[in-house]
C-alpha cells in the first residue's frame, strides 16, 4: 500500500512540474512578447516597458519561472491586468461557483446512472434494458446547451420555478442551490447517460465471472449476487469515468456557465483569453491542471480502497 501511494504521489508531483513548465513556456517564453500581445498594436514603448515590469517579464525565463511557481506555492497568483485585483481573489470567487456546480452535477449524474445502469444490466435484453439504452443514446446525442435552453424555457419561463440565470452568491444557500439546479441538470444529463452505459457494461462483464456462479451456488439470489459481489467489482471502470467527468465538469462547464450567466472558472478563463489577460489564463490553467491531477490521484486512491490486489507491496 505504501509503495502504491508513494508512486501515485510521485507521479502527481511530476505531472504538476511538467504541466507548469509547459504552461509557462507556452504563454511566456514561446513566440513574441506577452506584453505587446496584451496591449495590442498601438502600444507605446514606454507603456510596454511598464507593463513588462508589472507582469514580471524582466529577467531570465528561469528566474521568472521560479518566481511564478514560488508565488503560486505561497498563494500569490499575480494580479489580473484587466480586473486589477489579485488573481487569487478572482479564482476564489469563481471556485465558489464552479466546484459546487461540478459536485452537484456529478452527484446527480451518479444518482441517476447507478440505478439505471444496474437495472439495465440485471434485465439485459428486456424492454427495460432496450428502453434505457435508447434513452442514454439520446442523452449523449443532445447538445447540453440546447437541453439547457429547453430547461430554461420550461422551468424558468413557463413554470417560473427557477430563475433563468445569474448567481445570487452563497449568503442565501437555498437561493444559491436553486440557481445551480438547472445548470447542474443540464451538465448531468450527458454525464449520467455515459456513466449508466459504463455501469451497465461493467456490470454485465462481472456478471459473467466465475465467482458470480460460485455465489449463486452458495444460495445467493440474483439480486444478492449483484449487490454483494458484482457491484464492487464493476466499480473500477466506473470510478475511472467518474474521475474523468469530474475533471471535465470543473473546467468544461464553460458553455453551460454562459447559458446561465454563472460566474464560474470556465467563464473566467474564457474572459481572460478574450481580454488577453495572460496572468489570469496562466494561473487559472495551472489551477485547473492541478485540480485534474488531484482528482486522478483521488481516483487512484479509490481503486486501492476497492481492490486489495492494488494494495500489495
Amino acid at each position: 500500500m505504501a509503495r502504491y501511494l508513494l508512486t501515485r504521489a510521485l507521479s502527481l508531483g511530476l505531472s504538476l512540474i511538467v504541466a507548469s513548465v509547459v504552461i509557462f513556456a507556452l504563454i511566456e517564453v514561446i513566440p513574441g512578447d506577452p506584453a505587446s500581445y496584451m496591449m495590442g498594436l498601438n502600444a507605446t514603448p514606454e507603456n510596454l516597458a511598464a507593463l513588462r515590469a508589472e507582469l514580471g517579464l524582466t529577467g531570465s525565463p528561469v528566474t521568472r519561472y521560479i518566481d511564478w511557481v514560488g508565488g503560486m506555492l505561497t498563494g500569490d497568483f499575480g494580479t489580473s491586468y484587466t480586473y486589477r485585483v489579485p488573481v487569487a481573489d478572482l479564482v476564489a470567487d469563481r471556485i465558489g461557483v464552479s466546484l459546487p456546480l461540478a459536485i452537484y452535477a456529478l452527484t446527480l449524474s451518479t444518482l441517476i446512472a447507478f440505478p439505471v445502469g444496474i437495472i439495465a444490466a440485471s434485465r439485459r435484453g428486456t424492454w427495460a434494458d432496450h428502453g434505457i439504452m435508447g434513452a442514454t443514446q439520446l442523452g449523449i446525442a443532445i447538445p447540453n446547451f440546447w437541453f439547457a435552453m429547453l430547461l430554461v424555457l420550461l422551468f424558468a419561463v413557463t413554470l417560473r420555478w427557477f430563475s433563468a440565470g445569474g448567481f445570487p452568491g452563497w449568503s442565501d444557500p437555498t437561493a444559491a442551490i436553486k440557481a445551480l439546479t438547472l445548470p447542474a441538470i443540464a451538465l448531468a444529463l450527458p454525464q449520467a447517460s455515459i456513466l449508466a452505459r459504463v455501469m451497465r457494461s461493467a456490470l454485465l462483464d462481472t456478471l459473467d465471472h466465475d465467482y458470480i456462479r460460485t455465489a449463486r451456488a452458495k444460495g445467493l439470489t440474483r439480486g444478492q449476487a449483484i449487490r454483494r459481489h458484482a457491484l464492487r467489482n464493476a466499480l473500477i471502470p466506473v470510478l475511472t469515468i467518474i474521475g474523468l467527468q469530474f475533471s471535465f465538469l470543473i473546467a468544461g462547464a464553460i458553455i453551460i456557465e454562459n447559458v446561465f450567466f454563472l460566474p464560474g472558472l470556465g467563464r473566467l478563463i474564457f474572459q481572460g483569453i478574450t481580454q488577453r489577460d495572460l496572468i489570469v489564463v496562466e494561473s487559472v490553467t495551472m489551477l485547473l491542471v492541478f485540480a485534474v491531477i488531484l482528482v486522478t490521484f483521488l481516483v487512484d486512491l479509490a481503486y486501492a480502497l476497492v481492490d486489495p490486489r492494488l494494495r500489495r507491496g
Binding site: Y211, T214, A215, R216, A217, K218, G219, L220, Q224, N233
Partner: protein
C-alpha cells in the same frame, strides 16, 4: 437421495440432454464421465436450478421428495448451499477477488440466516481448518493463495452448511497432479467422515477410477452406461466407454528414426528475472531457469515435464528465442541463437501452443494463418505456388485443401490444433516445439492428434520437444524425458526408465500423484 428420471433439456430449442436418469445414494461418490459438450455440467446445473436463460426441462430430478426442476426460484435459493453445494473447475476465478476468504466462506451461513456474523466467522474458521487451511488467516484475499488453496476455500464455502450433496465439476482439471491428488483426497475424506454424497464430474477416467463408487458415462446428452466403477471399467459394455478407455491410455505407434545428430544443444542455461520492486529498490532477482542443459537429437521425441511454476514456460520461451537469457548457450543446428535468433534458424524450429484459438487472428483465413511463417524464408513462394504449399500442409494434417478459404471459428478444437500444426509445418522445420499442445483437447481428439504427430514424425523425420504436465501423454509419445523442478532439470533419461524406475524423489512424488487407469484386463482374468 437424488433420483433423476428421464431428464431432457433444451436451450433455445437446441436439445442438450436426452432422457438422463441417475441415482445418487447418501454417502456415495458418483463419477459422471464424458467429453466436453456431452452434457455433464448441464446435468449438474439442472440439479442446482442454475441453467442458463432459455433452458427448458422435462422429466424429474428428485431430492428426496422435492422435484428440483419445478421448484420456484426462491425455494431453490434456500436449497443451494443448504442441501446442495457446488464447486467448479477454475479455482483461480471462482472467488471474488475483492473479498476476504473468510467473508466468502461465512457468506454461505449469513445468506441462509443460519448464523450471526460472529458465529459465521467462527464456523468459517472451522470449515477452513477442515479443508486443511488452518495456517491461512480469514482475512486473506484470494490473490494471496495458490490454485489448490483457492479450491479448498471453494470447498469450505460449499460445505459450510453441511449439505447432503456436493457437486464437483472438474474440480482438479486446472490443477497440477500433486495438488490434484491432495484435493481428491480431501473430497474422499469429506465423503467418508462427514457422510455427504459427491457427484464428481470429470473428463478424466483415471480420476473417477480411483474415487467413485459408481460411474455414469455420458455421450451427446445421454447416459450410455452406468454401474459400479469396477464393473464399468472392466466390462465397458458400451462402445463409447470402450473408446474413451482406449483413448485415455492411447499410445500411438511410432517408428523412431533417431540419429546421433544433435539439433539443439542447451548448455548451462540461466534465465533470471529482476526482483519485484519494493519501496525504493528491487528485491532479490528470481532465477526461473538455473543451469539447464540437454540435447535434442534428430528424429527424437524429448519430453519436458514439471508442475506449474517450475520454469517450463520460461525455458520454452528462451529456446524459441523470445526472451533474453542471462547465462549459458543455446545452439540450434550447430549455431548459437544468442543474442538474437536468425530467421533461417527460426524457420527450422516451429511451435504449437495449447490454445490454438488464442493464437489465431479470428479475422484471418486459414490460408493466411498457415502461410504466415513464410516471411521467415528469403524466397517465400507466391501466388499459386503458395496455395499449393498450404494445400500440401493441410493434407499432411488430414484436413481438406478447400479448408484454406475458411475462418478459424468454423473448425472444432481438434481441427484448429491441426491447423496450428499445419502452420508449424509450412516452413519444413526440423524441430517442432509442442507446448501443452494436446492438453486442452478431449481424450478421443487427443488420441487422434497424437497419432498425427507420430505419423508426421515418421514422414518428415521431425524432432519433437514435447512440453506437458500430463505424464500419460509424455509417456505415450516421447523417447527421452526431462523432469524439471524449481528451474532445474532434476532427472533425465529414456522415458520408460524414468517412469518405471524414477531415481529423483521429485519424480517419484509426481508419478505417485498422477491418477492412473487400473489395468482392467488383468483384473478380469
Amino acid at each position: 437421495m437424488i433420483a433423476i428420471r428421464d431428464l431432457s433439456l433444451s436451450i433455445h430449442g437446441t436439445p442438450i440432454l436426452r432422457g438422463v436418469s441417475l441415482d445418487i445414494a447418501p454417502g456415495e461418490i458418483l463419477g459422471l464421465v464424458g467429453e466436453s459438450g456431452s452434457g455433464k455440467s448441464m446435468t449438474a446445473l439442472a440439479l442446482m436450478g442454475l441453467l442458463p436463460q432459455g433452458a427448458r426441462t422435462t422429466g424429474t430430478a428428485l431430492l428426496d421428495e422435492t422435484d428440483l426442476l419445478t421448484l420456484p426460484e426462491a425455494a431453490l435459493c434456500k436449497l443451494r448451499g443448504n442441501d446442495i453445494g457446488m464447486i467448479f473447475q477454475e479455482p483461480m476465478t471462482a472467488l471474488n477477488p475483492l473479498q476476504t476468504i473468510g467473508a466468502q466462506v461465512a457468506e454461505t451461513l449469513v445468506i441462509h440466516g443460519r448464523a450471526t456474523r460472529a458465529e459465521a466467522q467462527r464456523i468459517a474458521r472451522d470449515r477452513l481448518d477442515r479443508v486443511g487451511l488452518s495456517a491461512i488467516p480469514l482475512d486473506r484475499y484470494p490473490h494471496e493463495l495458490s490454485g489448490g488453496q483457492r479450491q479448498r476455500v471453494c470447498i469450505a464455502a460449499a460445505i459450510a452448511l453441511n449439505p447432503r450433496l456436493l457437486i464437483a465439476d472438474e474440480p482438479t482439471t486446472a490443477l497440477d497432479v500433486t495438488t490434484q491428488a491432495q484435493i481428491l483426497d480431501l473430497l474422499k475424506s469429506l465423503v467418508a467422515e462427514d457422510g455427504l454424497s459427491l457427484l464428481l464430474i470429470t473428463h478424466d477416467l483415471a480420476v473417477v477410477a480411483d474415487m467413485a463408487d459408481r460411474i455414469a458415462v455420458m455421450q451427446t446428452g445421454a447416459i450410455v452406461e452406468s454401474g459400479s466403477t469396477a464393473q464399468v471399467l472392466a466390462q465397458r459394455r458400451h462402445p463409447y466407454t470402450a473408446a474413451l478407455f482406449a483413448a485415455s491410455a492411447h499410445t500411438p505407434s511410432r517408428r523412431v528414426h533417431r540419429a546421433d545428430e544433435p539439433l539443439m544443444v542447451v548448455e548451462d542455461l540461466h534465465r533470471i528475472y529482476p526482483g519485484a520492486r519494493t519501496l525504493l529498490r528491487r528485491g532479490p532477482p528470481v532465477a526461473a531457469v538455473r543451469g539447464v542443459g540437454f540435447t535434442l537429437h534428430r528424429g527424437e521425441s524429448l519430453g519436458l515435464v514439471g508442475e506449474s511454476g517450475c520454469g517450463k514456460s520460461t525455458l520454452t520461451r528462451a529456446l524459441l528465442g523470445l526472451d533474453p537469457v542471462q547465462g549459458g548457450d543455446i545452439r540450434i543446428f550447430g549455431r548459437s541463437i544468442l543474442p538474437k535468433m536468425p530467421d533461417s534458424t527460426r524457420a527450422g524450429i516451429q511451435v504449437v501452443f495449447q490454445d490454438p484459438y488464442g493464437s489465431f487472428d479470428p479475422r484471418w483465413r486459414v490460408d493466411q494463418i498457415i502461410s504466415e511463417p513464410f516471411h521467415l524464408l528469403p524466397d517465400a513462394p507466391r501466388g499459386a505456388d503458395r496455395r499449393a504449399r498450404v494445400a500440401e500442409a493441410l493434407r499432411a494434417v488430414h484436413l481438406a485443401p478447400e479448408d484454406m478459404d475458411k475462418y478459424p471459428h468454423e473448425f472444432s478444437g481438434g481441427q484448429r490444433q491441426r491447423i496450428a500444426i499445419a502452420r508449424a509445418l509450412i516452413t519444413q522445420p526440423r524441430i517442432l516445439v509442442l507446448d501443452e499442445a494436446v492438453s486442452a483437447l478431449d481424450v478421443s481428439v487427443r488420441a487422434r492428434i497424437l497419432d498425427l504427430l507420430a505419423e508426421l514424425q515418421g514422414a518428415f523425420g521431425l524432432s519433437y520437444l514435447f512440453i506437458s504436465h500430463d505424464l500419460t501423454v509424455v509417456r505415450a509419445i516421447t523417447d527421452r524425458v526431462l523432469v524439471m523442478q524449481a528451474g532445474e532439470i532434476v532427472e533425465q533419461g529414456p522415458t520408460a526408465d524414468v517412469f518405471d524406475r524414477p531415481s529423483h524423489p521429485y519424480t517419484q512424488h509426481l508419478l505417485k500423484a498422477a491418477p492412473r487407469l487400473p489395468d482392467m484386463t488383468e483384473r478380469l482374468a
